[in-house]
Amino acid sequence: MIRYSVEKEYQGMIDAYEKAGGDKSALQSKDVAKLVIHQNRVLASDGVKGLNIETRETETGVDVNLLVEEGAKITRPVHLCFGILPKEGLQEIVMKVNARDNSEVHVIAHCIFPNAVKVIHKMDADIEIGNNARFDYKETHYHGESGGIEVIPKARVKVGKGGVWQSTFALSQGLVGKLDYDFEVFCQEKAVAELTVKAYGKGSDDIKIWEKIHLNGTGARGLAKSRIVLSDKAKAEVKGETYGNAPYARGHVDCMELVNGTEAVARAIPIVSVTNGKAKVTHEAAIGSIDRKQVETLMARGLDEDEAVDVIVRGILR
């Protein structure tokens, strides 16, 4: 239900979302669970059968409780929309998620900061995925071109036996500003965790990624994946950590950072650790310029060099 007094603000968020390439019909549909937050104001909050959303506005943001009931299969994606439309502001989202046993849900989060000059967006999430539950989370950011934004998403995720956590964080539209991403996942027996981060750093963007996966249960599996493209004077540091602490745990860290130009700086720090003789964790990290052969392959089909680079970058960040 949209509160009348904030209807105009809500419309502003919807418009900004659509302008950024989003499908606004999803946010306007009554059959779709959604949560729209502008700064510290909840503009819309709708659950569906099997999924309940509770919110509490605070001075600097909103506390959110999201509960997926046991056995509930939420057929349509849940849409979360967070943003700040003015040039300045602070938004702190404190989120508690509980996806109970055997539930399934797909959450799409849109974070919109089109005019940010001095904006801070923080998210601090505690997430519990029940036994044999599945939670897919995709967070996409839409930033403006000033780069005056600091994004600090942090999450601790516990995945129960046979549960699945899949998350993708994408920030490729507009300038990143400062990003400090920190996700940590703990997997029980036969649980699966896949963390993916995709970011395109330009200007003087500063990107820090920290993905940690603890494979604590027998047969748990984890993938910490990152795809970063840097140009201009952007810099990035990616830490991917995976710990194999149980028999037959299998983990992999996969980091690719492409540097386009001479002034961008990329670092990758993969950490793999095994404390059980029957666990196996691997890593691969590739940092370098955009592959010349890829560029020439596309140029040989008639694309200009800049167009070819653009196709390759878009592919990596897709």
Partner: protein, 240 residues
């Protein structure tokens, strides 16, 4: 259509291409047969302008214009393209998008058509990425489909048969013949006499030099008799 005249490439004091001359006519499939290390891929790179190769002598004339100073894109826009021996893999680039951009943003049905021409079922491939999940043979057939989609005036195919299994080989041959029927001239670089037999003419390459040009069957036989048994690999004076 393509005249390569007295082409030379010297790298670090070593002569890689040595006074090479070659003529590809409009509508012709011209085979180049050569053993490993004779300069086959280097010729492809020099004509396409890839891999930072620039001739140290001679001329590359395409439709009356010397193209040696043009960029890869400029050559492609004139109608030349290259299918690499080991095509690049691009994460996140779907087959449908690759064929579409190769075909100058043609219709989706055209992508399906070109995949079928190289024996690939569109439903299985269109939404896959041209990345490491494809086998070498699949990637090469997609490369051929992308050349078909482009309708080039001149297609340079660098060992299109290498790494292709016996079942897929006829599909590759068919794709090349279809390309030619579409109106493309083809420079078919190979070390397989069988592959060269679909050409209208065949040239034999040794030590960066064309040592013989003629009809496919006879030239392939000559290659088999002389180059396969040559004790003086890459010494053309011994075989001319």
């Amino acid at each position: 259509m393509l005249k390569v005249e007295n082409l030379q490439l010297t790298l670090n004091g070593n002569s890689i291409i040595n006074d090479l001359s070659l003529h590809v006519s409009e509508g012709e499939i011209h085979g180049i047969l050569g053993e490993n290390g004779t300069g086959k891929t280097t010729i492809a790179n020099l004509i396409m302008g890839t891999n930072n190769y620039k001739p140290t002598g001679g001329r590359i004339i395409f439709q009356g214009q010397d193209i040696a100073e043009l960029s890869v894109s400029q050559r492609a826009k004139k109608g030349i393209t290259l299918a690499w021996q080991e095509p690049a893999r691009v994460e996140g680039l779907r087959v449908r998008d690759y064929l579409k951009l190769s075909g100058n943003n043609g219709k989706a049905e055209q992508a399906e058509h070109y995949l079928r021409m190289v024996g690939m079922e569109p439903a299985q491939y269109l939404d896959r990425d041209i990345d490491a999940t494809l086998s070498g043979g699949e990637r090469k057939r997609i490369e051929l489909a992308s050349v078909l989609a482009m309708h080039p005036k001149l297609a340079i195919l660098d060992e299109p048969d290498s790494g292709i299994d016996i079942v897929a080989l006829p599909l590759i041959l068919n794709g090349i013949l279809e390309m030619n029927k579409q109106g493309s001239s083809v420079l078919l670089i190979t070390h397989s006499e069988k592959m060269a037999e679909i050409a209208h003419r065949v040239s034999v390459l040794c030590a960066g030099k064309i040592v013989r040009t003629g009809a496919p069957v006879e030239t392939s036989q000559w290659f088999k008799d002389n180059c396969r048994t040559c004790l003086h690999i890459n010494e053309p004076s011994e075989v001319i």
